[in-house]
C-alpha cells in the first residue's frame, strides 16, 4: 500500500501534532497534496466489432472491424488500448481484468459448441489460450445467444504482452456487430500495478 506524501497541514494543531480529539470529521478538508501508490482504477476501456458477419467454422481470430466503443454514455478512464489486426496493446504495465463477449445468432446450422477464447502472448509472437467459455446454438431460425469469457493478465511489458480474441465454432454462425451498440466486444480494466 502506498503513502500519503503530504499531510493535511492546515488541520494540524500548533506544535505539528493532532490534538487528542484527532481530526474533526465535520470540517471541510482542502487537500492539495498528492496521493501515490494508493491504487484505484486508472485505465478502463471498451472495444467492439462494428459489423455483423457470418463466421467461418473452426478457430478464428476477430481480426478486423474493431472500434473503440464511443457512445456518450460509455465512459473510459485513462489511456486507450490500441488495436491492430485484432491484436490489442496495453497503454501501460499492470494487472488487467479483461472480459469479452460474442453475440451470436443462428445462421444455417446448429452448433454443438461455440467458444469465446482469450489468447495472450508474453513475447509478442506466440499466443497461448488463457481463458475459454462455450455455448451452443440450436437449429432454430431466431435462435440468439451469447458467450462471455474473462481473465486476469499481468502485463509486465507493454511491448511483449498482448492479447487477442477468437472464437471456435462447430459451424458458421451469424456474429452480431454494431457501431452504435456493444454486441461483440472486449473490455479492459487495469486493477493495479504488476
Amino acid at each position: 500500500m502506498g503513502t500519503i506524501t503530504r499531510t493535511f497541514a492546515n488541520q494540524i494543531k500548533t506544535g505539528g501534532k493532532l490534538d487528542a480529539d484527532g481530526l474533526d470529521l465535520t470540517d471541510t478538508y482542502a487537500f492539495t497534496g498528492t496521493v501515490s501508490g494508493a491504487g484505484g482504477i486508472t485505465i478502463a476501456d471498451s472495444w467492439r466489432i462494428i459489423a455483423n458477419f457470418t463466421s467461418s467454422s473452426g478457430t478464428n481470430d476477430f481480426s478486423s472491424n474493431w472500434e473503440r466503443s464511443d457512445q456518450a454514455a460509455i465512459g473510459q478512464i485513462g489511456s486507450a488500448m490500441t488495436e491492430s489486426s485484432g491484436i490489442f496493446t496495453f497503454p501501460s504495465t499492470g494487472v488487467y481484468f479483461i472480459t469479452a463477449q460474442i453475440y451470436c445468432m443462428y445462421s444455417a446450422a446448429a452448433l454443438q459448441y461455440l467458444g469465446a477464447i482469450l489468447n495472450t502472448t508474453t513475447n509478442n509472437s506466440s499466443y497461448t489460450q488463457i481463458a475459454q467459455a462455450y455455448t451452443h446454438i440450436e437449429a432454430v431460425s431466431s435462435q440468439h445467444a451469447h458467450v462471455a469469457v474473462n481473465t486476469l493478465f499481468d502485463v509486465t511489458d507493454t511491448s511483449t504482452h498482448k492479447i487477442k480474441f477468437s472464437y471456435e465454432a462447430e459451424n458458421a454462425f451469424l456474429c452480431g456487430g454494431s457501431s452504435v451498440i456493444d454486441r461483440t466486444f472486449m473490455r479492459f480494466i487495469r486493477l493495479g500495478d504488476t
Binding site: A51, E67, S142
Partner: protein, 93 residues
C-alpha cells in the same frame, strides 16, 4: 431473425469471415464499404441493393408461408373435432 434492412445483411450472406468492413463505422453506405480479404471481390452497388431486395422478398415470403401454414394447420385440427380452446392450448393461437 429480423427482416433484412441494410446492405450489410446481404454482404454477410455472400461469404464467411470478416471479409468486409466500413471506412466510416457510423456511416455504413456503399461508398464506405471496404474489402479486407483480397481473395473476395467487391460487389457492385446494384448487386447490394438487388441482393437486399431479394433477401427482403424471401423473408416476406417465408413469413407469409408460415402464417398461411399456421392457419391451415389450425383449420385441420378444428376439422378433426378439436375445440378452439384445445387448438389454442396446442399451438397458442
Amino acid at each position: 431473425m429480423n427482416r433484412p434492412n441494410h446492405i450489410e445483411d446481404y454482404l454477410v450472406s455472400l461469404h464467411t469471415g470478416q471479409w468486409f468492413g466500413w471506412s466510416d463505422s457510423k456511416n455504413k453506405v456503399y461508398a464506405n464499404l471496404i474489402i479486407h480479404d483480397d481473395s473476395k471481390s467487391k460487389p457492385s452497388e446494384s448487386d447490394c441493393t438487388t441482393g437486399l431486395a431479394t433477401l427482403q422478398s424471401d423473408y416476406d415470403t417465408a413469413e407469409t408461408n408460415a402464417t398461411t401454414k399456421k392457419a391451415s394447420g389450425k383449420q385441420k385440427l378444428l376439422d378433426l373435432g378439436l375445440t378452439e380452446e384445445e387448438v389454442k392450448a396446442l399451438i397458442g393461437a
